[in-house]
């Protein structure tokens, strides 16, 4: 019974009647509660309402009542009353604030409860046997959704405190495998992608991530400052029956739309180009790019034009924006948006982005919103869950690496020469790896701060790969943390290639290895000594490759020795 009570929002477990005592509150769910909330499938670990409602010690909830028999249903009545009151423009703000406060309170309460419940509880959860797993995988014995949910929770709990909860003869990886299989079948991912995304987060957070991918993101619009001001736009839209609020402190042009009685993509204001329907996340790379009036800017993959028009607006219709897209069909919509929003400084062209330094160089800033797998926007396009394989990721990251080099080469080096790289993907091989590659290939480029106040730092190391401290300057955004699409932004500053950059690099390397304390001698390769070593290792490698066991002093044939000498040089480079 104790085990069930921890996560008690499925219908079967709603049988528990009101308890007189305070200590067993965890399982006094009443039937009403379940009827009110049809989303009993909700997997939200940290904010399930039922638990908080029935909890005796609510830390911050203002309506704290002494616990008695019917208190649980009283709470529900309160909720109903509140919900019956119609939502109007006047009270929406207060209501949403109240809801937020409630959610926070519940979250805290939940955590406290989970901790308390976890402490005094013995595990009753056992992993399914191998035969069972096989049967499930083959589809002969499909698992009930509720059971699946329960099992995932248990797995998460076990993995959260492995020493305490794990069955003695089970390894951690078994639990992880089971959890992955369950995630894949519960949320409908293919096994590869489920594992790839799962690896990005701690266990509990990974579930939150998957869960938030099922929910839609808020609708946001961007004011076109070429045509109007945000205050005027907000007023005009409110008059049309749209419920909105500024998107946050970080943007002066964004508005978040809560509900609307008219289609937000077809109002006269929209058609007259006063705003653009644009996800909050796609403001970020442009904010990072920080284009200035009079500059020459390139947007390498620009359709449908949300970022391009934002750049143009920030430049106040001066300078030049080159909006490129590789897809001819998509340039139509791009051109329409550019004209609708009144951007007169835009040239739309249709090239493969990789042709770019050849077509035209000398840009002051380049925005590369690279084509990506779309793992950050699964809530918008769920087909990603199934149709992405390892091969897709290899191809995409290859393309991205080519594109970022082209982007860097298109910029004229100067103190303000900037390349911003962004993707709507959360995987490491499309983000940090690409940046690390670019930094390696173009030594005169360095990472700088994006100028975005929020978001998580990029991975400095991931699964054995180290990207260095610098990578902390990149920013990652997640749907479950920031309530916007999963996104990655990196800002690169392009310095002058040549001696100075090399010098700076060497200096920084010296600083890192400075504790040796030796005076810098002239470093050179001792070719003779090297040749000997190389020959030896080459021989070993070859023999090993052929499966021949090594003997200490075997004869090396002369021809091999010669080729070694050549290889040695190229290897050393």
């Amino acid at each position: 019974m104790h085990k069930k009570s921890l996560f008690d929002d499925s219908e079967e477990e709603g049988q528990g009647e009101y308890d007189e005592g305070g200590e067993a509150d965890e399982f006094d769910i009443d039937g009403d509660d379940n009827f009110e909330r049809p989303e009993a499938q909700d997997m939200d670990f940290l904010s399930s309402d039922e638990e908080a409602d029935s909890l005796p010690t609510k830390p911050t909830k203002p309506t704290k009542k002494p616990r008695f028999a019917a208190s649980s249903s009283d709470d529900d009545d309160d909720d109903e009353e509140a919900e019956e009151e119609p939502t109007t423009a006047r009270n929406i703000e207060a209501r949403s604030r109240a809801l937020e406060a409630k959610a926070i309170a519940e979250r805290a309460a939940d955590m406290a409860e989970a901790a308390a419940a976890g402490a005094g509880e013995e595990t009753m959860f056992a992993l399914p046997s191998a035969e069972q797993q096989e049967a499930e995988a083959s589809g002969s014995a499909p698992v009930d959704v509720n059971e699946l949910q329960l099992r995932m929770r248990e797995c998460v709990k076990v993995l959260g405190d492995f020493k305490k909860f794990a069955a003695p003869n089970r390894s951690r990886s078994e639990y992880v495998q089971q959890l992955l299989a369950d995630i894949a079948s519960y949320y409908g991912y293919n096994a590869f992608l489920a594992e790839k995304l799962f690896d990005l987060f701690p266990v509990a957070e990974a579930i939150e991530f998957f869960e938030s991918n099922e929910l839609p993101r808020p609708v946001t619009i961007r004011t076109n400052t070429l045509r109007t001001r945000r205050r005027e736009l907000a007023q005009a839209l409110i008059n049309r029956g749209v419920n909105l609020e500024p998107i946050g402190k970080w943007s002066k042009v964004g508005l978040q739309v809560f509900e609307s009685s008219v289609p937000i993509g077809a109002t006269p204001e929209y058609l007259a180009g006063h705003y653009m329907l644009q996800a909050a996340s796609s403001f970020l790379p442009v904010i990072a790019l920080d284009p200035q009036p009079g500059e020459r800017v390139l947007d390498m993959a620009s359709a449908p034009g949300g970022k391009t028009t934002y750049i143009s607006a920030l430049m106040q219709n001066t300078g030049v924006v080159f909006a490129n897209d590789a897809n001819k069909e998509r340039t139509k919509g791009l051109t329409a948006n550019v004209h609708r929003l009144g951007c007169r400084n835009v040239v739309v062209c249709n090239y493969d982005g990789r042709e770019f330094p050849k077509v035209m160089g000398g840009f002051d800033r380049v925005l590369l919103d690279a084509p990506c797998s779309g793992t950050g926007v699964i809530s918008k396009d769920a087909s990603v869950k199934q149709n992405k394989s390892a091969r897709d990721f290899t191809l995409l990251s290859h393309l991205q690496k080519q594109l970022i080099l082209c982007a860097i080469d298109s910029v004229t080096p100067s103190s303000s020469a900037t390349v911003v790289y962004s993707t709507c993907s959360v995987t490491v091989d499309e983000n940090e790896s690409v940046i690390a590659y670019a930094l390696r290939k173009r030594p005169h480029v360095r990472l700088v701060d994006t100028g975005l106040e929020f978001g998580r730092e990029g991975f400095k190391a991931f699964r054995g790969k180290t990207f260095g401290e610098e990578m902390g300057k990149t920013r990652r955004f997640y749907p479950h943390v920031n309530n916007m699409d999963g996104f990655f932004v990196a800002k690169l500053r392009v310095g002058k290639p040549g001696k100075r950059a090399e010098q700076a690099r060497e200096e920084s390397e010296d600083e890192q290895g400075g504790d040796v304390g030796l005076p810098l001698e002239k470093m050179a390769f001792d070719d003779e000594a090297d040749a000997e070593l190389i020959r030896e290792s080459k021989r070993k490698y070859l023999l090993k490759h052929k499966g021949i066991k090594l003997r200490p002093k075997a004869k090396v044939d002369a021809a091999l020795c010669k080729t070694n000498g050549k290889d040695a040089e190229s290897d050393e480079e």
Partner: protein, 180 residues
Amino acid sequence: MRPLTEEESKAVFSKLANYVGKNLVHLIDRSDTPHCFRLHRDRVYYVSESLMRLAVSVARPNLVSLGTCLGKFSKSGKFRLHITALDVLGQYAKHKVWIKPNGEMPFLYGNHVVKAHLGRITEDTPEHQGVVVYSMNDTPLGFGVTARSTLDTRKLDPTAIVVFHQADVGEYLRDEDTLF
């Protein structure tokens, strides 16, 4: 991309003059940055010279658009203004028509402006004159041609057409595929 020929310029300017009148001079000799008219794949673009010079480096098959598109030449050599020219027209329009809020949507769906929806109209607008249509809060919505002069509209019944529809911003949605 090339400059307009004599004939083409005549066709474009006479169309523009229909809406902006003598203000056409301001379009050609701008005080701020020099602008020019360029033809690219039947379409006429109004673009600042610095932008045009940079766009020269884009190959013809890959260039989609530059600056502001004014309209296109039909196969028979006639020039037709597109809604994208509204920015330019709205700035220099000589004769204007304002429509009431209840008339906005019908106009944006491509209908003519009827007397009942007419909010304001420039004094002494002659018949068959190009006008720019605004909403009551001065947002340009499209353009058209007057059916009657300002004086005659007073006597019309509410359902009679005042302005013939030529283009409206709703075309950005309706004709996205054919517009560019």
